[in-house]
């Protein structure tokens, strides 16, 4: 299919295009310089951006399904009957797989990465991803509490750890190394947690510091497309910003193997807490932002809170237990053998709660205090801070200090007193919105053909019905919120999939995974270990562990040449 998106206001930060009126040409699913005999779509008076890229969202896997099972009452919301094209769907904080795809497409997103896949649950995760239409997909793969990883790193065998990480990504069909509460997940198996970077993990005698620096080295030795994706220790704890600052220092001196950061600290809103008790709970977003501004190899994503009822789910088992003990609400916990221990519990961010009000402000503070928008990516850590389809509200907050003030009036006074949000005048423009919702994500993930509209990029495009010459987002924030909720057009691989906010074509995206090759002798050494450990400790046979490509929609391996031994 050949298309010309004519005369829109184009925002393409990776190519430095800031609202220029121009045509975008599409042929064979790619952006091209020029195209003949094409269908013309009039985009005059509209905003044109690359398709949105979601970098951290819990959309598939065991936790997500546990959330669905635990919360039948959540399925009463968002009930949508089937149509000629789309399947019946429901769910608010735990939407069904199909609904997840449709809702992202309506927001103009064309790619999404699920945030935490336990390798043992990879087959299940891919079965769910299989049923998420409209998007290219990938899975961040949990390694921060993995027995092999901890053993190899403890004895200083980084090569073998790298060989294992490469094998695990291939076996689980994963895309990147995800680290969640390093060491804490394993300690949770003993009813404990780790509370600082030097707190040793029971029986492994390794520290979070050693796990993080070790996996950082592994990631760069393997030259993986994404950096390590780190959910730091002490999530959600009062005063945890000190741990976060210390964790950032661990990236010092490491040169990235590619043009990207060395670490992405994820949902950093949950890690920017000051005070010494819930009574004195306060924002330390400014300290965190200052540190990010001063470093060139660390980026963050926000993990913004939006008020309402949601379901929290993380691979951070001890944290979920802690949270459920604060709220008294139902709770689920699992132990994934040698790998991780996730938990799930509902949470209500109430406007009347001082803690929730401060959490809300912290996310926005981070986005507004960090200067370079390519270093602060917009996420809600779906569904932990809010469901992803609340992005339009967050975009409107970022673009309008007046909207933030209006909201501030409705929420507990702690947001005013214990954060700097009320003092910030900065308002994002469309260029910066494009940076924090797609360009930065694609850059961070090392996806050269996504997040921009230069020739050769995937023809994934979002067109929003906003005329930047007429609309003043600072004043017309409600309009901005509404128009970012449903695109005029979403184009996936050169095909129109959403028109005027309605799904007009259902497509299946690619599943991206990393295929990194290491030295064959090293691989044989690893195999001997795998054999022994699987027989001894795993509930599954080694041969049944790797996920076959048949489980993936449009399997797309990213081949990586490594320099491991």
């Amino acid at each position: 299919m050949r298309l010309i998106l004519r005369n829109g206001f184009v925002y393409d930060p990776l190519n430095g295009i800031n609202g220029e009126k121009m045509d975008i040409c599409i042929e064979n699913g790619k952006i091209v310089e020029d195209v003949k005999d094409a269908k013309v779509i009039d985009c005059s008076g509209k905003v044109v951006m690359p398709g949105g890229v979601e970098i951290h969202s819990h959309i598939a896997g065991g936790k997500v399904n546990t959330g669905r099972i635990m919360r039948p009452e959540d399925h009463l919301k968002n009930v949508m009957p089937k149509t000629r094209l789309t399947r019946a769907a429901n769910g608010y904080s735990t939407p069904s797989t199909f609904l997840t795809g449709y809702l992202y497409a309506k927001l103009g997103y064309t790619t999404a990465f699920t945030a935490a896949m336990p390798p043992l649950m990879a087959r299940h995760t891919h079965e769910e991803l299989h049923d998420i239409p409209m998007l290219d997909k990938g899975a961040l793969t949990l390694m921060g509490n993995n027995w092999f990883v901890m053993r190899y790193l403890k004895r200083g065998d980084v090569e073998l750890a790298a060989a294992f990480a490469a094998w695990l990504l291939r076996a689980a069909k994963g895309y990147a190394i995800k680290v969640v509460n390093p060491g804490g997940g394993e300690a949770w198996g003993w009813g404990r947690d780790v509370r600082n970077l030097d707190d040793p993990v029971p029986h492994f005698d390794i520290t979070p510091r050693e796990i993080i620096t070790g996996l950082t080295r592994v990631n760069e030795m393997l030259s993986l497309p994404h950096s390590i994706h780190l959910h730091a220790n002490n999530l959600g704890r009062v005063g945890n910003y000190l741990t976060t600052l210390e964790t950032m220092e661990l990236a010092n001196g490491t040169k990235p193997a590619r043009e990207r950061q060395v670490v992405q600290l994820t949902h950093v809103q949950f890690h920017s807490y000051g005070g010494d008790s819930w009574r004195t709970f306060a924002s330390e977003a400014e300290s965190i932002a200052k540190a990010v501004n001063s470093k060139d190899n660390v980026i963050v994503d926000v993990g913004q809170v939006v008020f309402g009822d949601t379901t929290t789910m993380t691979a951070d088992g001890p944290m979920e237990y802690y949270l459920s003990s604060l709220t008294g609400l139902k709770w689920s916990n699992r132990n994934i053998e040698l790998e991780t221990s996730p938990g799930v519990t509902p949470f209500i961010y109430s406007k009347r709660s001082p803690v929730a009000a401060v959490q809300w402000a912290i996310g926005l503070e981070l986005a507004l205090h960090i200067k370079d928008p390519l270093k602060v990516l917009l996420t809600t850590d779906h569904p932990n801070g809010a469901p992803f389809f609340r992005y339009p509200t967050i975009i409107a907050w970022l673009m309008s200090s007046r909207y933030r003030e209006e909201t501030m009036k409705e929420v507990h006074g702690a947001a005013q007193r214990n954060t700097t949000l009320a003092t910030i005048d900065r308002e994002y423009d469309f260029y910066e919105i494009a940076a924090v919702t797609r360009a930065g994500q694609a850059k961070s993930l090392g996806l050269a053909e996504k997040g921009h509209l230069g020739a050769g990029a995937d023809a994934d495009v979002a067109v929003y019905d906003i005329n930047p010459e007429e609309v003043d987002p600072s004043r017309d924030y409600k309009l901005v919120e509404e128009r970012f909720s449903a695109t005029s057009y979403t184009i996936k691989d050169g095909e129109i999939v959403v028109k005027d906010g309605e799904i007009v074509k259902v497509v299946n995206g690619r599943t991206l995974y990393v295929d990194a090759k290491v030295d064959s002798e090293l691989e044989r050494e690893l195999e001997r270990d795998l054999d022994y450990y699987f027989k001894r400790f795993y509930s599954v046979n080694l041969a049944n562990y790797p996920v076959q490509e048949v489980y993936l929609t449009r399997p797309t391996p990213i081949e990586v040449k490594t320099n491991v031994r």
Binding site: M70, R71, P72, E73, D74, L76, L329, K330
Partner: protein, 261 residues
């Protein structure tokens, strides 16, 4: 008050989902429009008029309307769902979910109601002259915030888990109730004739009154003396009642249980 009369025709052999039978939905609609309202059965959609003869005089406002169902509708579900005003009189028995999420108005049932009736009610009144099934005035599956307001009266018996997660409002069952009455209750008042066992399990607040005895009491309830002609949650009771607090299997439990001596 104006009246719209629904006379049941042949009912389907399985559940008829008719959440449209509500004064709020009927208000402002003509008889023809009411007949055309959607109902669901199995995987099919039909019209209310396929299952009921509709007659009478519709009203513009829900509060000015009484809906009368002439006879048994034992396969019809969700009557009065989300209703905020007006009155429904069912001259027979109805199926599940009568008055679910109702916030105002009144529903009178001359026969019995099925399970989950009065679910998560917020206001108004549900009066059942016959008996109710399980989960009367309970919360939806998985939901921990139960009925929060209004009043349910059952003149006959009710099934298990009456007032589960009760979070406000009042439930009166004149006859007997099955196991787990008032389970996980936090607020409000539950009055029952007699109960079998596990009354008030995991309750942390509110009051339960049992007029004709409990077969077996949970160990998490501590006796707190006898009271005569007590006033409980604004209602007066006659006679001597043994008072208990609990369920102390829960932390900070402030529930109160009264059993008539």
């Amino acid at each position: 008050m104006r009246e719209v009369v629904l006379t049941p025709k042949e009912q389907p052999p399985y559940g008829l989902i008719a959440e449209c039978i509500s004064c709020d939905v009927f208000a402002g609609r003509s008889i023809e429009e009411i007949e055309a309202l959607p109902v669901y059965y199995g995987n099919r959609q039909g019209k209310l008029g396929d299952f009921f003869d509709v007659a009478g005089e519709p009203a513009d406002k829900a509060g000015e309307l009484r809906i009368i169902i002439e006879g048994d509708v034992t396969k019809t579900r969700w009557i009065g769902r989300d209703m905020s005003a007006g009155e429904i009189v069912i001259k027979g028995s109805a199926d599940m979910y009568v008055g679910a999420w109702m916030s105002g108005g009144r529903i009178v049932v001359e026969g019995d109601v099925g399970t989950f009736s009065g679910m998560q009610m917020r206001g108004g009144e549900l009066h059942v002259k016959g008996s109710a099934g399980d989960y009367l005035g309970c919360s939806y599956r998985g939901e921990w915030r139960g009925m929060s307001g209004g009043r349910i009266v059952v003149e006959g018996n009710a099934g298990a888990e009456v007032g589960q997660n009760l979070n406000g409002g009042r439930i009166f069952v004149r006859g007997s109730v099955d196991t787990f009455a008032g389970v996980r209750m936090k607020k409000g008042l539950l009055v029952v004739g007699s109960a079998i066992d596990r009354v008030g399990a995991q309750m942390t607040g509110g009051a339960i009154v049992v007029l004709n005895g409990v077969q077996r009491l949970l160990p998490g309830f501590d006796p707190a003396g006898d009271v005569e002609n007590p006033e409980i949650e604004g209602e007066s009771f006659e006679g001597v009642f043994r008072k208990y607090t609990g369920d102390h299997a829960e932390r900070n439990a402030r529930g109160v249980l009264y059993i008539k001596v």
